[in-house]
């Protein structure tokens, strides 16, 4: 049973979302404030966090950063009002994997949670049989879902990992942002390309890519991104 940590200050929304998610066989822990949410991280050990960005007290963005500092791989879904564009950008840069726009229907949120969990879980069935591809000083274990650089593990959030796996599966091929949104985030075609850009940025930073001339993940102007193995 997937464990969902819901951080939402409005009582009605909190109860409604918790109810809907529980009916979808999630185990839900609901927190009212960001501080409470950060505490639950340890005690509840969620598989995924649904975080409202508009919180009293500690702002949602700070909660997001705090969680990222504690756990590099925890999937975080932001709940936000459309139009709060700055918050979305900052949230994505702070490490959120995805976002939903309120008011959100239960089945949309549920689909996003499933998608992000699929990213995190991947093909867990194949785990145990290492299938390691090496690109320069980068080693990608497609079965164990881990990445090492010069032998050091690179902790990746689910979206970052899935993005790297997708891109590196076909080195040299150019993926458009919309293709990546569909392949990695399981969004419909008309998703927000900023998800991709923010994720690429975080991935490059974690892989220690020089920001001006990225070695592995290159931008193809006007089209999208490609992975280059050397």
């Amino acid at each position: 049973m997937p464990r969902v940590l819901l951080i939402e200050d409005d009582r009605a929304v909190r109860e409604a979302v918790a109810l809907a998610l529980r009916r979808q066989s999630h185990e839900v822990s609901a927190a009212v404030t960001g501080e409470e949410g950060l505490e639950r991280l340890r005690s509840f050990r969620p598989d995924v966090v649904v975080l409202d960005l508009m919180l009293p007290g500690m702002p949602g963005l700070d909660v997001c950063r705090g969680m990222r500092a504690l756990d590099q791989t925890l999937p975080i879904i932001m709940a936000t009002a459309r139009g709060d564009d700055e918050d979305i950008v900052v949230g994505l840069e702070a490490g959120a994997d995805d976002y939903v726009v309120k008011p959100v229907q239960a089945r949309v949120l549920e689909a996003r949670i499933r998608a992000v969990l699929r990213r995190a879980g991947g093909s867990l069935a194949d785990a145990g049989i290492p299938k390691i591809d090496t690109y320069g000083d980068l080693a990608v274990d497609r079965a164990g879902l881990s990445v090492t650089r010069r032998g050091e593990p690179v902790p990746l959030a689910p979206s970052e990992l899935r993005l790297l796996l997708t891109l590196s599966a076909s080195p040299g091929q150019v993926f458009s942002r919309q293709q990546l949104l569909q392949a990695v985030w399981e969004h419909s075609y008309h998703g927000d390309a900023r998800l991709v850009d923010a994720c690429v940025k975080r991935l490059r930073a974690k892989m220690g890519e020089p920001p001006r001339e990225p070695r592995y993940i290159q931008t193809v102007r006007g089209f999208g991104y490609r992975f280059v193995s050397r």
């Binding site: 409005d10 009605a12 929304v13 109860e15 409604a16 979302v17 109810l19 809907a20 009916r23 009002a81 459309r82 139009g83 564009d85 309120k102 008011p103 959100v104 229907q105 239960a106 089945r107 949120l109 458009s176 942002r177 919309q178 419909s188 075609y189 008309h190 998703g191 927000d192 390309a193 900023r194 850009d197 923010a198 690429v200 940025k201 931008t219 006007g222 089209f223 999208g224």
Partner: protein, 503 residues
């Protein structure tokens, strides 16, 4: 809202070129005319007085001198004189003038003698001779022959026969002809002097006219600039008022008008902003309860089947209407963002045909809509994929609801790769002519009964805003063969004002 800016061309054409009826030209002409008339009148009067004075003086001097000499020489004359005597008298009188310009002719009866034999003395006319005959006084006349002017003086020589002081005419007549070259030159100089004075006076008049025109025109020009500035929407434009003439009054009135205008516009804008903020606030406040309701509509839908029929109907109604309400509030929020200028484009390089296909597929419309789309990657552009989806979905949804099948979605490029055209055609009754201009207005319902349809009433308004924020155009029309057609034109490349996707 941007103030409507009139193209400056029209206004400039009216003011820019210096026309003959311009204030400056009129002032210059008036000043020059006044100066010319004044100079001419003054010059003419001065000239006449001076000329008369000069001629009178030289004439008096000549006559006096002649009289003196004749009086001095006449007593020595033999009487009756012979021609020789007459000639000597003439020569002697002529010699009295040191410059030698005098020509003297002396007559006695038929005898005549002259100081200058070659001179024909044409200027001594018979009329003059008769005047000398009949008058004992000195007779003079200015005679112009050719371009020379001569003073001709005639007098009778008298002698005092009785010794009692009673002078009797001797019959000897002395005529003097003096060319008046010096006087003429003097008068010429006078004319030249008047002329010379007139030209600078005219120049000065023109200069003064220009200065005066500038003095008048500067405030007029400032007024014109300020008016144009106001017309372009800078309502805080004011004029510096100096002096207290009519133009200063005008400037003052202008400032008052501008201030009043600015105040009313600010008031109107404030009201409009408050109204918009109210709409935005209301939507915002509705969103939180709706978020809770939206989250559980699926729960209601799932369990409705297990409830008794009345409750099930009520529950389904609540669920359906909650979804609609959520959509309406979402649309209102979207409109509010457009109104607030807060709508941001998230551009991405996309294949438009693929995008259109996805829009249809995502709403399960693929089987209900015919398509005429170019091959993959034939039309690519930098657009906001979500907004393009909204545009196409609204237009196609509108066609499916209000038009009749077949509905055709068509996409083509303009050949240059700069613009794309999206057309949505239906085969319904078309749009009534009186509705056509308002189809993109908010909550505009074509029938006055205001029957509620599936849409929020904001769909086409949001479509128009989404197209506009891309720098494109959308228009609605009726096809000659029946049915409505909505045409969207979108620029595919936007160099400026792009919010670049971060690398």
């Amino acid at each position: 809202m941007r103030p409507a800016v009139r193209p400056p061309g029209r206004a400039r054409a009216r003011f820019g070129a210096p026309q003959l009826r311009g204030l400056r030209v009129r002032l210059v002409i008036a000043f020059a005319l006044v100066a010319a008339v004044t100079a001419a009148t003054t010059g003419a009067l001065t000239f006449r007085e001076a000329r008369t004075g000069v001629l009178q003086q030289s004439q008096d001097a000549v006559i006096k001198l002649l009289r003196t000499h004749v009086d001095r020489l006449a007593p020595d004359l033999a009487f009756p004189p012979r021609e020789l005597d007459l000639r000597r008298l003439a020569t002697d009188v002529a010699a009295a003038e040191p410059a030698g310009t005098w020509r003297v002719s002396v007559r006695y009866g038929d005898l005549r003698a002259a100081s200058d034999v070659d001179h024909p003395f044409e200027e001594v006319t018979p009329a003059l001779r008769r005047a000398v005959d009949s008058s004992r006084a000195t007779v003079f006349q200015r005679v112009r022959t050719g371009d020379h002017t001569s003073l001709v003086v005639g007098m009778s020589v008298t002698f005092d026969a009785s010794g009692g002081g009673h002078a009797a005419p001797s019959g000897i007549q002395v005529f003097l002809s003096v060319p008046q070259t010096t006087e003429a030159a003097y008068v010429d100089e006078l004319v030249t002097a008047v002329e010379r004075a007139t030209v600078p006076a005219l120049g000065l008049a023109v200069l003064l006219a220009l200065l005066a025109a500038r003095g008048v025109l500067r405030p007029v020009r400032a007024l014109r600039r300020a008016t144009r500035s106001i017309a372009e929407g800078r309502l805080d434009t004011r004029l510096a008022v100096d002096g207290s003439d009519e133009l200063a009054d005008l400037s003052h009135t202008f400032n008052e008008t501008a201030a009043a205008l600015e105040e009313s516009v600010a008031e109107l804008r404030g009201m409009e902003a408050r109204a918009r903020r109210f709409a935005a606030d209301v939507s915002h406040e509705l969103r939180t309860p709706l978020a809770a309701m939206s989250a559980v509509t699926d729960v209601l839908d799932e369990d409705a089947a297990r409830l008794d029929p009345d409750t099930a109907t009520a529950v389904r109604l609540i669920s359906e209407e909650t979804v609609k309400l959520a959509r309406l509030v979402d649309d209102l929020m979207e409109i509010s963002r457009f109104d607030a200028g807060a709508a941001v484009l998230h551009l991405d390089e996309i294949d438009l045909a693929e995008s259109l296909r996805s829009t249809l597929a995502a709403r399960a419309w693929t089987d209900r809509v015919e398509t005429d789309l170019p091959p993959p990657d034939a039309v690519r552009g930098r657009l906001d994929p979500r907004r393009l989806d909204v545009v196409v979905a609204n237009l196609v949804g509108n066609a499916l609801r209000h038009g009749a099948r077949p509905v055709l979605l068509r996409l083509y490029g303009d050949g240059t790769g700069d613009r794309a055209v999206i057309e949505v055609l239906d085969s319904g009754p078309g749009i009534p002519a009186d509705v056509l201009p308002y189809v993109f207005e908010r909550f505009y319902k074509s029938d006055s009964a205001r029957t509620r349809t599936e849409g929020s009433g904001l769909g086409l308004a949001i479509t128009a805003e989404n197209v506009r924020v891309h720098g494109g155009t959308v228009r609605a029309a009726n096809r000659p063969e029946g049915g409505a057609v909505f045409t969207v034109e979108l620029p595919l490349r936007r160099d400026a004002m792009d919010r670049e996707s971060p690398e």
